[in-house]
Amino acid sequence: MKADETMEEIVVNSGDTAWMLMSTGLVVLMIPGIALFYGGMVRVKSALNMMMMSFGALAVVFVLWIAFGFSMVFGDSVDGKGLIGDVGQFAFLSGLDNSAALIGTIPAAVFIAFQGIFAAITVALISGSIADRAKFGAWMVFAGIWATIVYFPVAHWVFAFDDFVAKTGGWIANDLGALDFAGGTAVHINAGAAGLALSLILGKRVGFGRIPMRPHSLPLVMLGAALLWFGWFGFNAGSAVASNGTAGLALLNTIGATTAAVLSWLLVEKIRDGHATSLGAASGVVAGLVAITPACAAVNASGALIIGFVAGAICALSVGLKFKLGFDDSLDVVAVHLVGGIVGTVMIGFVGVDVGIFDGGGTEQLVKQVIGVGAVFAYSFIATMIIGKIIDLTIGFRISQDQEVAGIDLAIHAERAYELSDNGQGSVLGNSKGA
């Protein structure tokens, strides 16, 4: 009997594997989700550039992920300090890129692909803070450097548990013991802090706060939010890395918190502005998803509703800060991802099952959560300021004012998002460059 049990531990579990294959597909869908959510929110002249920043981030980050990113996150902690994984241990996925290798109960290849998309999504989220004005090449360089210097270490802190992939993991997961199931700190606070830093480095758009910058397509924003929500089931429930009750609870809470956040965001809008808007509903969806990300396996359904309701309201109240404080976080990465991530991560200390203050847990977990939040925010903000400044001083991060006013799509990509008339089509200059 004992031999059989041992055998089972090293055999792939087909149920877990099937769910994680599906979860990986779901998280890939979040990339076009972000692209459409952000792309619909900008003016018509920069819709393509906004979408390209998400696609570009995926391309750069996943290549680096295979080269050394996975190893930096899930390799053995260098000197056991929990700060960074051994970059050489799984460089180019050595030893793991075959069909026999397992991580947990699933093929290593599936876990690697799943986690790699997390890195790409985190980078793509940042792009919302620098809409309409960033050089595409500079963004691609930033994406690679930021993933390497900021995301890979922080993901190691938060996602690398001892004895899962390697023997020693990150300090937040193992030494501190802050709870972050799917990335409230590593993904959302991380991206939000970086978005804040980049919006300060690049400065305000021409006419910020003076001329209207209204979303060019709210249906695209709604579609993007819907795709994000759908993909988020893979992001949260897939973070169980198993097809089990934890995944089920995470999935339930990913709906509960999100619906509560839609209600509270719309309520704030109705009271403050007089209208419940579609952009508010889409924003409430994302705010709720962000807030429940760290907490989806640590709270019961009521706790998820409370987190969602609080996050939707606080995030809705935070969107005005950029005008009051004068930073052009164009699509509210700070108000949605930084604030939403902080709310969700900290509230585990209040409503977390067994560990929260309201569930008889005392203040111990709350303190751990706050330390985790503070550490990720501080590291991401400071490191992003330095990376952003260096890129700005060397290759330049921002397009010229003329290009920005004329529209970044035409200036940088030589394309327009929409051709709504057959008139004035121009003429063909040449069409054989690819041959």
Binding site: P212, R214, P215, E269, R272, D273, G274, H275, T277, L279, G280, S283, A316, V319, G320, F323, D332
Partner: protein
């Protein structure tokens, strides 16, 4: 000859077009326009940022007529376009020196 230009509420275009055809007007040019008069615009709110939008969508209708038909056609347009509420638009006439039909080269009243 006269050029009659009418700025209309978009939803009244069909009524005006039908009335003109019934009155014997055989052609017209319609374009989408935006502008404001006494009606002014509206406000929009995006994530709490409030914008005023002065320009209201309108339709611009243009008809070429003989001098003798001008007053009657203007009356047809005004009657068909009116809802009695603010923002119904304006109609004006402009003298026209010459009109040429491109296909045949006919000039003046013949070309209308």
């Amino acid at each position: 000859m006269k050029l009659i230009t009418a700025i209309l509420k978009p939803f009244k275009l069909e009524d005006v077009k039908n009335a003109l055809q019934a009155a014997g007007v055989s052609g017209m040019t319609v374009s989408e326009a935006s502008g404001f008069g006494r009606q002014r615009g509206h406000t929009e709110v995006y994530r709490g940022a409030e914008y005023t939008v002065d320009l209201v969508p309108k339709v611009r209708l243009e008809v070429l007529v003989d001098d003798k038909d001008s007053d009657a056609v203007v009356d047809v347009i005004v009657k068909a376009a009116s809802t009695g509420s603010i923002g119904d638009g304006k109609v004006w006439t402009t003298p026209v020196d010459q009109v040429i039909r491109v296909r045949t080269g006919e000039r003046g009243s013949e070309a209308i």
